[in-house]
Amino acid sequence: MINRIELLKLVEHNARIKIEDLAVMLNASSEEISAELEACKKENVILGYNTMINWEKTEREEVTALIEVRITPQRNQGFDKIASQFYRYPQVSSCYLMSGGFDLMLIIEDSTLREVANFVSEKIAPLEGVLSTSTHFILKKYKSNGTLFTQKQTDDREAIVL
């Protein structure tokens, strides 16, 4: 039996890991691994394979913004309806319903400062049901999705230790 959680953790951190390598690591056959990954896709457990990119090292000028939105829930639909009005925008990379002082958290990537400002003032704030917004910009990424953005640790151990 393949341990699905273990398999998912491995591909989560390295989407390009080879099926044959996974098979050895998890003591299974390549066919079994492929079948399990396929099943995960079918069940919408695996939704895609992304690449971690440190955009700061490229010439792109885009910013990442976190927008907290307070809204009034709508009758019969709760927060879902209004959330869908936000997350359909392609520049919204993540959208979460939150507990605590506000209701929805939107993460905007791929936009310039100007674009974020326009988006908030023209598309979010005026929407019926939105009580207030609060926008935060990320200044520097230290770690994201478990990956450190600072340089990698080198192995400084002695060559031989008994």
Binding site: M25, L26, D155, A159, I160, V161, L162
Partner: protein, 398 residues
């Protein structure tokens, strides 16, 4: 006038043979930058952050003094709870535990506190290099039992029976083992117990440094779990391997109160107390470290499978290691001694592994491969090993 320093050094120290493979080590160390090293007996992981943080916090709070000789009572309590929770071992933190500078110090203290000149200590080779040396330095006589690949490097009851004399003081068991990765199950240990029950003067030192790194899926067994032997067993353990804390230099021993008191006497005059920062850090390790240990163990286990598979593909036979982070494949039939094999592998393929003879004469014909290294390095090293072995086989046919 020239001073003859050699003649000034004590006979026991002079009699400890310099490691025959020192030259190989020097060579590997010089080439450190360009080689992949699978020769290291310590975790590649950095100590989990919460444990490091606990140490740092103790420094910020000004805990920079000597601790009580035996170790802080909070530390001993934490270790006691940990041993009971993880291994069903019960020890009174007040009288039965001593916090040491690594398992290494514990092994040394045991030798010095128990051995009278000429007493014999049974050790099972191939094994961790310190066993023999600690006994010799304490004027004891190491009696070697050679364990064999076909027995999965387990101690056979007959071999034990044959090695026991009326001078035997204790036996050192080191499972899961360095360099073999062998484990002894509860049933295996039970047979050893039956013999020791018939020899009530012999003590058991159980080196359980790798007890957390067991891949059998079962709870690792300790010989101290047998009530018949509990009063005659000293368990040596530590945080170096299980919690990736080698550089902190902290370990402990657990056993009968009068013996712990005797060890503490030696410890008190030679060491004073184990490092205070490390002691604060291991409270966190004992109480909240299980998840970190589990993650490291799972990763070692995956690497273990990659190594076993790599050895098979390279055509080297290896018994399946079930613990620690070592594989100990045979290189027999390739026309090289283990030292020649390692030296040529290092020079030709830039991979460092350790000749089996470093761990005792009977380690000849084998090499130790450590999988306390990154998965990428292991995979690349296995690729090169296959190349190397193939070249050797083709070469020797010509």
């Amino acid at each position: 006038m020239e001073i003859d320093y050699q003649s000034k050094i004590s006979t026991v120290v002079n009699n400890i043979a310099p490691s025959a493979i020192r030259r190989f080590f020097d060579l590997a160390n010089e080439m450190k930058e360009e080689v992949i090293s699978l020769s290291i007996g310590e975790p590649d992981f950095v100590t989990p952050w919460s444990i490091r943080e606990a140490g740092i916090f103790s420094l910020e709070d000004g805990y920079t003094h000597y601790s009580p000789n035996q170790g802080y009572i909070e530390v001993r309590k934490a270790i006691s709870e940990y041993l009971e929770r993880r291994f069903d071992l019960k020890y009174d933190p007040k009288k039965q535990l001593l916090v040491t500078v690594g398992g290494s110090e514990a092994l040394d203290l045991i030798a010095r506190a128990l051995i009278n000149p000429g007493d014999e200590v049974i050790i099972l080779e191939p094994c961790f290099v310190a066993y023999k040396a600690t006994v010799t330095l304490a004027h004891g006589v190491p009696v070697v039992i050679e364990t064999k690949e076909e027995d999965e490097y387990k101690l056979k009851p007959e071999a034990l029976e044959a090695a026991i004399t009326d001078k035997t003081k204790y036996i050192i068991l080191g499972y899961p083992g360095n360099p073999t990765g062998a484990t002894m199950t509860k049933e295996d240990l039970s047979k050893i117990k039956d013999i020791l029950v018939r020899h009530p003067d012999i003590f058991v030192v159980s080196d359980e440094l790798y007890s957390e790194l067991s891949y059998t899926g079962e709870k690792p067994a300790s010989i101290a779990n047998f009530p018949e032997l509990y009063d005659r067993t000293i368990v040596v353990n530590g945080f170096s391997k299980s919690f990736a804390m080698t550089g902190w230099r902290i370990g402990y021993m657990a056993g009968p109160a009068p013996l712990i008191a005797a060890m503490n006497k030696v410890h008190q005059y030679c060491i004073m107390s184990s490092p205070t920062t490390a002691q604060y850090a291991v409270i966190e390790a004992c109480r909240n470290g299980d998840k970190d240990v589990e993650e490291m163990r799972d990763e070692y286990n995956r690497r273990r499978r990659v190594i076993i598979n790599g050895l098979k593909e390279a055509g080297l036979s290896c018994f399946d290691p079930t613990g620690a982070f070592y594989a100990f494949p045979s290189i027999e039939g390739l026309g090289l001694t283990c030292e020649e094999f390692c030296e040529r592998f290092l020079m030709e393929k830039k991979v460092a592994i350790v000749p089996g003879s470093a761990f005792g004469k009977c380690g000849e014909g084998h090499v130790r491969i450590s999988y306390a290294a990154s998965m990428e390095n292991i995979q690349e090293a296995m690729r090169r090993l296959k190349e190397f072995v193939t070249e050797l086989k083709n070469g020797s046919k010509e």
